[in-house]
């Protein structure tokens, strides 16, 4: 998403600082594709203090292009994290009260095992031989990380977009380990339109001759052009027409008149080019392919006999669904479908639609009503959980 975390030049950054856990051969991860991942690493960050009862842990799940650096200065770029406004003392995810964890997803490129990391069996980068992963696989891996931290039950699991998919997957598959869940700007399954956009992005990467059938790390090439196109196309889907009009309109970039050429005449073009070029500095092209595929495969109803309400049978989890009026990538109707399924089980659910023109990206931005809603929901849940104020 519009992530303020990026470096201005060079290779995908190597990650310094932060914590990680490596699971050895004795504890393989059973992936949905049928493969057992024998050895893998998860990189994660924590904020705040875990209380003695280990009852105040919040797992924040990042979106497609996010990472574990939720808040504070990023160790590579020095810039703020993707939810810097949300996490910290006195913020909705109040680090004076809650222990906030974020794990770089399996398949990611910021320290967790993914296609750019070394396959211990071959000593070479996984590249295109990395196994296909699903959102459920990401969550299974996170469960092992939580076991490693000794946390039996999360006070809350939350996230936006793909982070919301993970939050749903957690609450549905491990209801006894989740006290509350906040899936934001998300859906119970990836829509045909969203799969279509992902297909365009993937084809752009694979059409880049420097992709080298996924072996660019071995070949010493960089599919930057393809990845930048994928990012630009995706970025448009994160915004709204109204926001683009408000921000850019048809304003020209550093010029008084049209150039009658294919230069970035318009500010919106210049903005997209910037988004594309900064993204390729911090993200791995193969990770982009694998993670978008994981989102495409996400379909909770399909895993529960085609009936979404089955996924929520007798659920003890307190849910809060949040959507944004101008989000056309994960529109309110998607959240409402989840709410209806939860109501069919008389589950404990809240649902708020926030009025904004900022599109899908609104969940990363300063939206006072969104913050107020989330803080209020967490506070209400914390009282029920017996957490001190």
């Amino acid at each position: 998403m519009t992530d303020p975390v990026f470096s201005e030049s060079g290779e995908p950054p190597s990650v310094h600082g932060g914590e990680s856990v490596t699971f050895g051969k004795g504890r393989p991860l059973h992936l949905d594709c049928g493969i057992e991942l024998e050895q893998f690493t998860l990189a994660y960050q924590t904020y705040g203090e875990l209380n003695a009862e280990k009852s105040n842990a919040i797992l924040a799940c990042h979106a497609l292009t996010g990472d574990q650096f939720v808040a504070g200065a990023h160790p590579v770029t020095g810039k703020g994290g993707w939810w810097g406004l949300m996490v910290g003392p006195g913020r909705p995810l109040d680090t004076d009260r809650y222990f906030v964890i974020c794990v770089n997803v399996l398949g990611g490129c910021m320290g967790s095992t993914g296609p750019k990391e070394i396959n211990p069996a071959t000593g070479k980068a996984w590249g295109p031989s990395f196994p296909f992963i699903t959102v459920a696989d990401m969550v299974r891996a996170q469960v092992m990380a939580l076991d490693h931290l000794g946390i039996d039950q999360l006070f809350c699991v939350l996230g936006g977009s793909m982070g919301g998919m993970q939050a749903l997957e957690w609450a549905v598959s491990y209801p006894e380990r989740v006290f509350s869940a906040v899936p934001i700007a998300t859906a119970a399954r990836h829509s045909a339109q969203n799969i279509a956009f992902h297909e365009v992005g993937r084809q752009a990467i694979m059409a880049d001759p420097e992709w080298c059938e996924g072996n660019y790390l071995l070949q010493g090439t960089h599919p930057h052009a393809g990845l930048a196109v994928a990012r630009k196309a995706a970025h448009i889907t994160y915004l709204s027409e109204a926001a683009l009009r408000r921000k850019f309109g048809r304003k020209l970039q550093d010029r008084e008149a049209l150039s009658f050429g294919f230069d970035a005449d318009f500010q919106v073009e210049s903005y997209l080019r910037h988004q594309g070029s900064t993204f390729v500095d911090r993200f791995d092209a193969n990770s982009y392919l694998y993670i978008t595929r994981a989102m495409d495969y996400f379909d909770i109803a399909a895993e529960h006999g085609g009936h979404l309400a089955n996924a929520f049978k007798s659920t003890p989890v307190r849910y809060c669904l949040i959507s944004f009026t101008s989000d056309w990538l994960f529109p309110t109707a998607e959240s409402r479908e989840i709410v209806r399924a939860l109501n069919a089980e008389a589950a404990n659910v809240s649902f708020v639609e926030v009025e904004t023109d900022k599109g899908h990206d609104a969940f990363l931005l300063d939206e006072p009503e969104f913050f107020k809603t989330l803080a209020g929901f967490l506070d209400g849940a914390a009282k029920r959980r017996g957490l001190k104020g």
Binding site: R340, A344, V352, F377, D379, G380
Partner: protein, 207 residues
């Protein structure tokens, strides 16, 4: 929609809502349909340890409720009650909303399907002031919880207490409890209820 004032000793709760709260047992499961700003749900959570849920039409109302930590979804009585399972709640409350639904008959049936008991309040169109206005002024009355002009009121299905009793009988619903309130929230009863009661409160269940 209501002209009621906060009740004495009711922690700021409106008298009509306090009358509802008094009917609800502790530790019960409650669905408040048209929960507004969540005042009743908050009161029930604070004073009766109720596991409460709400449905509210206005997004501003929903957002305010969730910010208070209440479990509320955006929705409306006509469209969304059908999603809920049978007998999932001890009480389903429909306060000052029945007259604004498109299909009050169906809504009543849904209430007693979802809840073991339904608590319904509505402005009584048989109230003497309303009759007087219509009789003497010859215009649509705008009193007793029916405060808007005919062309802008959301109250498309007003009824009298007697109308409501007949409908309950037609639907085979038992009236477990019934009271009427005047403007000050004082109870009125007896055969003159339909004339002197501005507001009606019924607790119903299926036979």
């Amino acid at each position: 929609m209501s002209d009621f004032q906060p009740a004495a000793g009711g922690a700021g709760l409106r008298v009509d809502l306090l009358a509802i709260a008094n009917l609800i047992g502790t530790n019960s499961r409650v669905l408040d349909v048209g929960c507004g700003d969540g005042a009743l749900l908050q009161f029930l959570a604070d004073h009766k340890d109720v596991d409460g849920r709400g449905i509210e039409l206005s997004q501003a109302g929903v957002n305010a409720c969730v910010s208070l930590g209440l479990s509320v979804v955006q929705g409306d009585a006509d469209a969304d009650l059908a999603n809920y399972p049978e007998q999932a709640f001890d009480y389903v409350v429909l306060s000052q909303t029945l007259q604004a639904t498109r299909n009050p008959r169906q809504v009543l049936l849904e209430l007693v399907r979802i809840g073991r008991r339904a608590i319904v309040t509505f402005p009584n169109f048989g109230y003497w002031r309303i009759r007087w206005r219509l009789l003497m002024g010859g215009r649509m009355p705008m009193v007793g919880g029916l405060g808007e002009h005919w062309y802008e009121t959301p109250n498309i299905h007003p009824c009298t207490i007697r109308d409501f009793e007949v409908l309950c009988s037609d639907l085979g619903l038992s009236i477990e409890h019934q009271r009427v309130l005047d403007d000050e929230g004082k109870a009125q009863a007896g055969r003159w209820a339909n004339l002197f009661g501005g507001q009606a409160l019924f607790m119903l269940r299926r036979h």
